[in-house]
């Protein structure tokens, strides 16, 4: 970690300085950092228009892309905070599965029928938050390495989901729930609106609040952060809990999309989320994070998928393209960032 720190000049700025060029507030640097992503997204869109024409450049298709992006997007925003804070979380897909299963058991659905569908939303978010809290406590106070703690959560949350659901798919019968989340006010699906709100909230939290600055400080140099008076352990717990909550929200979104809860939901979501965050420009070792970059990362992945679907190309080719894009985007960003600083 310290080796990597030496290579990045921006990280030698004292962690507690609020004017440090981090997050998205770095002015021209922020733009430069996202430039590679903007170019990649534009190239993808051009390819989409050339190969699929109106089928790509239509409002319906845009909505389709955003709907596909929503679940991954919300989790990735949460992941941005954990990675910026110097951690990693491999359990997001499993937490999503557990939340979706917990919120769709006959017990929860009975409750939803009597007091309203909000009970299902509440229980999904609560379960996600609780899992995140456990992750955070294990990592901050139990001193378990994040990789291991969340790997354990991955296994046990999915296992618990399978136990609760008896490995069956649980169907949502509550009409109020499906009606609310399936609605499209002004042509915009509710889950896309949620995605937008979470992104805005995430951006504000990371760039305009003490919480955000502390996150950058904790990820950049925990020791300096501690000396600056930040309660590093407590803050770490907050970060994982926040991610758990976004997993719960994502579970609600996937529940509305599939009208089911299932222990197979969110398979390999962690890899996509981490990839989206990293190509977005958030440093994997922490200390620098960008919500806007993550948004671009998510959009690049989903647009890529959409262009491939429109052109009947295989998912295997798509996986290769995804790998290439990750490497190219990261290389591009490094070049641009090095030139500017």
């Amino acid at each position: 970690m310290s080796d990597a720190l030496k290579h990045d000049p921006s990280l030698t700025v004292p962690a507690s300085t609020p004017t440090a060029p981090r997050g998205d507030r770095g002015g021209s640097l922020g733009v430069a950092r996202n430039l590679g992503l903007v170019v990649a997204l534009i190239v993808l869109c051009v390819v989409g228009v050339i190969t699929a024409g109106d089928r790509f450049a239509s409002t319906d298709n845009l909505v389709t892309i955003l709907r596909l992006a929503a679940v991954l997007g919300v989790v990735s925003i949460g992941m941005t905070f954990v990675i910026t804070g110097g951690g990693i979380d491999l359990s997001v897909g499993a937490i999503l599965a557990l939340s979706s299963v917990w919120a769709t058991t006959t017990g929860t659905q009975d409750m939803a029928d009597s007091i309203g569908w909000i009970a299902m939303v509440f229980s999904a978010v609560l379960v996600g938050t609780a899992c995140g809290l456990i992750n955070g406590l294990l990592i901050a106070y139990g001193r378990v390495v994040p990789f291991i703690a969340t790997l354990a959560m991955l296994a046990s949350a999915r296992g618990l989901a399978e136990l609760i659901a008896d490995r069956k798919t649980q169907i949502i019968t509550n009409q109020g729930f499906t009606d609310f989340f399936g609605a499209e006010p002004l042509g915009i699906p509710v889950i896309v609106i949620i995605f937008a709100l979470v992104t805005l909230g995430g951006w504000f939290l990371l760039n305009r609040t003490t919480f955000g600055r502390r996150t950058l400080a904790v990820g950049g140099n925990p020791e300096a952060a501690r000396l600056a008076g930040i309660k590093v352990q407590r803050h770490t717990v907050y970060l994982y809990t926040l991610l758990g909550a976004t997993c719960g929200i994502a579970a609600v979104m996937l529940m509305s999309r599939t009208t089911t809860g299932s222990s197979t939901h969110g398979a390999q979501l962690e890899l996509d989320a981490i990839a989206a965050v990293v190509i977005g420009g958030t440093l994997l070792i922490g200390g620098r994070g960008t919500v806007v970059g993550t948004l671009f990362g998510v959009l690049i992945f989903t647009t890529l998928t959409n262009v491939f679907t429109l052109n009947n190309l295989s998912t295997s080719t798509q996986a290769v393209a995804k790998g290439v894009i990750i490497v190219v985007a990261v290389l591009l960003q490094q070049r641009i960032a090095n030139r500017k600083t």
Binding site: L68, L254, R257, T259, S262, A267, N306, T315, Q318
Partner: protein
């Protein structure tokens, strides 16, 4: 001296070029061999085959992570190619319901005439299939059933319960009323209703002759999971008389585990009906003595039905004017005696 060097170098370059060419060729042939080489679909030789209005069909299925699923897509593509009036849009296979939903949404945006859908999870795809139906698109549900009758115009199903019954009946016949035979079962993905149906059919058929499943493990339809599940099972059961394995693709792993454990005291029955397994049955030199067919041409049937419905045709061998709402395919047992009939329709795993 230098010319010798030169020649040697040129020789090396030639060898290198040759190796590279072989690699590239190999990669290409692997890819193209995927298409429709040995597919076993045919037209029906009726008036229905006459070229009619153009039909655009969207097709989506789970990832082809094992032979049967690969054969499904291959047969669907081959079937579509048989007709000049069918244009097939194939969305590549995925096990991510979120992505599969998005594929169907793309088909709806494209205003296709019909969608043939083999869902990764029937329940999870119901809402979006319903949306397609509401948009006036003919949806044909294949293999894994939706949970709403409004979500599909017609459904093509394999007989999973029937597969279990076929396998169980074969065991009963072979045991000839002997009691106390040890029966083991290696199931597929337990969370899928189709696996539960197969197991139920097997148990019900065994009950008829006083037998029961003594050991049961679940694998995940893949070779790796089959090997793992089988080696655990063989550890747990020192003596077995009959073993039913739900799926011939995971069966490759199961057979490997059996070989590693040096076991041959039992009769093994397969499931799905891969060409490998049928060749083994024909050769009659392994524990495999039978398999139960689960047709890999279901999606091809789906394509044919979609075309008929969109063109307003009926099924020529039925008196009905409309194509039926549901078609359930048979699950016959293949043994050494009848293997020649079925090996033509078997899929390569």
């Amino acid at each position: 001296m230098s010319t010798i060097h030169h020649r040697r170098r040129r020789g090396l370059a030639l060898v290198g070029a040759f190796a590279a060419a072989t690699l590239v060729l190999g990669a290409c042939t692997n890819g193209s061999g995927d298409d429709d080489s040995n597919s076993n679909v045919s037209k029906s030789n009726t008036d229905n085959d006459k070229t009619g209005d153009k039909v655009v069909i969207g097709f989506s299925a789970p990832a082809a992570d094992h032979g049967w699923m690969g054969a499904i897509t291959k047969a669907a593509k081959a079937q579509a190619k048989q007709y000049d009036d069918v244009e097939l849009n194939v969305a590549e296979g995925t096990n991510d319901v979120n992505l599969q939903i998005s594929q169907v949404e793309t088909f709806i945006n494209d205003k296709v005439d019909a969608i043939v859908l083999l869902p990764f999870d029937g329940a999870a795809m119901t809402a979006v299939a319903r949306k397609a139906m509401d948009a006036g698109i003919v949806v044909i549900n294949v293999d894994r059933e939706f949970n709403s009758p409004f979500a599909a115009r017609s459904t093509v199903l394999g007989d999973n319960y029937g597969m279990g019954v076929s396998a169980g009946t074969f065991v009963c016949d072979d045991a000839k009323g002997a009691k106390g035979k040890k029966v083991a079962e290696i199931a597929g993905i337990d969370s899928l209703p189709l696996t539960q149906d197969r197991s139920k059919g097997f148990a019900d058929a065994l009950k008829k002759c006083g037998l029961k499943v003594d050991n049961r493990v679940a694998a995940e339809f893949t070779v790796e999971s089959g090997e793992k599940a089988a080696s655990n099972l063989l550890q747990a059961a020192p003596k077995i008389d009959y073993l039913w394995n739900h799926d011939d693709d995971q069966g490759v792993g199961v057979l490997a585990a059996i070989k590693n454990a040096n076991r041959d005291e039992f009769v093994m029955i397969g499931g799905a009906g891969s060409a490998n397994v049928m060749r083994d049955i024909k050769a009659d030199n392994t524990v495999l003595k039978a398999t139960v067919i689960y047709p890999s041409t279901q999606a091809a049937d789906g394509i044919k039905l979609a075309r008929l419905i969109v063109q307003g045709k009926s099924m020529s061998d039925l008196a009905e004017i409309e194509v039926p709402r549901q078609i359930k395919l048979a699950a016959p047992v293949v043994t050494k005696d009848n293997v020649d009939t079925y090996i033509k329709s078997a899929f390569e795993s």
